[in-house]
Structures are given as structure tokens and as C-alpha cells.
Symmetry: C2
Subunit: 209 residues, 2 copies
């Protein structure tokens, strides 16, 4: 069946552990995954490297990328642009990698319109008390920030229905295996493999020619 | 995620090894699969047991089952009725089993209308020469029967596009694992798990009540 890479979008509330899941997919699954590196106009934080954590851009550079259709989605948060460069994604897909985009809901739904074959996974916490514990456990977050993140989750949860799959991040190993199972199954989806039917059809008709 | 059983339909040309695949799924996957036993009006062949291989019925009994809506699909081949009894399927699904129907294309598409959540898998041979070898390898089939089966495949292949997944039966182990992967992934499909979103939504709203 198809050996093309799959475009995989992972979204979820702040605190569901998206970053940890993505890192584990990258390290545990034999090089079959690649993560898309976002472009942003925000300042680099300590230790962040250009081209690895983000492509750091000026506002002018970013707006030129928008104009030149070099981004498959972009959005503005807290006065900074964030976006997904098209070339990186398409190059990795061509190499046969499954490309992960860890992006916000609106961006995810925009990408689905452009790439209808992409797969949307919504990561859920096991329950809300656990989500609160994880948000508070970060230490650096004040109570009001935690409250704000939970409030944002109330808005975001409505969009989970639009995702293709739901995965609960309770046991990290299980969660990553489930995502990989989804990817393996999706590669057997008829819409990605019509060429196999076409070929068998031609061969069958050939036997009666 | 959902622990409900999945209704799984496996179709494919004569000679793709559907029966062998189904038997392996039943024996290799810890009791998680059950196969639907068809009802038929044809005479039992030597060794076939009522309730195991088929439910053997008279034409009158079969037509009464149709009338009473006790079959989820039925069809007539070579002057005999074949059909899928509803009660057996629904009982097994309630027990949490993945119920396999190994049925013809028209029946499969009929079942999909009644049970939109069922999953349709089309089994393909690796190529047409191998299909011919398997059909001839049965020994008992004359050249004209092989030709007739291949001709039927030409008609059937058009319907493969309507199936959800394609699986090639080249290596039997790999083929069965792929089917099981599809079943595992389908159980994470959002449409089967909206209750998890509903619950998280209620819990989240509860934190702001």
C-alpha cells in the first residue's frame, strides 16, 4: 500500500502534553516521523535555535511569506505571527515521512481544507482534575493563568468533534502507540490507494483482451 | 475509548483467501473477533454443521425471516438464499466482540446503509497472475470456472472504490495484523467516541459553575 508520508495534525488543550507526545513519536518510531518547524515573529527564548525550534522571522519577512503563499496556515497570537512553512512540510512528505503539525484548532481546520487527506487527532487529558494538576504542575503558572487556560479549553472542546480521531494522553507509551496505529491504518484507507484498484482492474481486463 | 464491538465486513474476489484470513483472525486475536454465521437454503455439504458453518433453513423458513426483518441483508445465488441473521450479530456486538461478515459486495453496501458505523474492508490479491494461480490451485475448478471467476472479478473490482480500506493478502500474518490495526484505529475514531468529548465538556464547564 501507499508509502507516501501522511500529514498528521495534533491539537489539544494546553496541558495535555502535546509536546511530549510529539517528541516521543520522533524518537521511538524509527525515523518515520518528522515534525514541522513553525515560523514566528516572536523573540527567541533562551536556548531556542533558529530552524530547529522555530524559523525566527521579522514581521516584514513573515508578511512576505504570507504574500508569496509560502505558509499553509498562519495565525496571530499575543501580537505575534505563527505559521507553517509549506516547503518544509511538502519536502518531508515527499521523502515518505509522516509530518506532524502541532497546531491550534483554527490552523488545523484551515490545513484540512487545503490538504483534505491530512489526519486530525485531538489529544484529550484523562479527565479535568488531571488537566488542572498538569497545568498547576508547571509551577510557573499563576492561578489566573491556569483559570484562563481552562476557560480556553471550554471554547476549544467544541471543535474536538471536527477532528478525525480522539486519543487520551494518560499513559504516554499507549498514547503514542495509538497515534502510530492510526497512521498505519490510514495508510490502508482506500482513498490513498486507488492506484492499486486501478492496476488490478487493468490486469484483470488484460486477461480478457 | 469505546469498548463496543465493531462490525467489520470483509469482501474480495473468489480466490483472495477471505476464509483463511477470517479463520486466522478468530484464532490469533484473543477472542476479540466473532464471525457471523449466515443463514442459507442450500443443502449442507459433507461435514457442515448447522449453527456453525451455516444456519440451514427451508425456503419457507428463510422467507419468514425476511418478512420478520430478522436478516440485515440477504441475496439469492444459484437459486438459493443466503442472509445474515440480525440477532446473532447484535448479540455479539453487545458482548464487545468485533463481528466479521464475510459477504458479497451488494450485501456489504446494504449493511453499510443500515449500520453506517460498520467498516468495509476489500481484500485484494497481490496481482492477477497470483489470483489465477490460487483459483487453479484449488484443483477442483475447471478452466471455464476459473475464467468465470476472473470475469466476475472484473465486475466486482469497480466496487472496491466504495470500501473504506484495502488490504492485500500476500503474507497472511501481515494481512491479519493490518486488519486488526484498522479495527484498533477505528475504535479511536471521533464518531465512535463523542461521549468522551461530552464528558470532558461537562467537567470543564463544571469548573466554572
Amino acid at each position: 500500500m501507499t508509502d507516501k508520508g501522511l500529514l498528521l495534525i495534533i491539537s489539544g488543550f494546553s496541558g495535555t502534553g502535546k509536546g511530549t507526545v510529539v517528541n516521543k513519536l520522533l524518537t521511538d518510531f524509527d525515523d518515520s516521523y518528522a515534525v514541522s518547524v513553525s515560523a514566528t515573529t516572536r523573540d527567541p527564548r533562551e536556548g531556542e535555535r533558529d530552524g530547529v525550534d522555530y524559523f525566527f522571522k521579522t514581521t516584514e519577512e513573515f508578511e512576505l511569506m504570507i504574500e508569496n503563499n509560502e505558509l499553509i496556515e498562519h495565525a496571530c497570537y499575543v501580537k505575534n505571527y505563527y505559521g507553517t512553512p509549506r516547503k518544509f512540510v511538502e519536502d518531508k512528505l515527499d521523502e515518505g515521512k509522516n509530518v506532524i503539525l502541532e497546531i491550534e484548532i483554527q490552523g488545523a481546520l484551515d490545513v484540512k481544507k487545503l490538504y483534505p487527506d491530512c489526519v486530525l487527532i485531538f489529544l484529550l487529558p484523562p479527565d479535568v482534575p488531571e488537566l488542572e494538576r498538569r497545568l498547576k504542575g508547571r509551577g510557573s503558572e499563576s492561578d489566573s493563568v491556569v483559570k484562563e487556560r481552562l476557560y480556553r479549553a471550554v471554547v476549544e472542546v467544541e471543535f474536538a468533534y471536527k477532528y478525525d480521531y480522539l486519543v487520551i494522553n494518560d499513559d504516554l507509551d499507549k498514547c503514542c502507540k495509538e497515534i502510530d496505529t492510526i497512521v498505519s491504518a490510514e495508510k490502508l484507507n482506500t482513498k490513498r490507494n486507488t492506484v492499486f484498484i486501478d492496476n488490478i482492474e487493468k490486469e484483470l481486463k488484460g486477461t480478457f483482451a
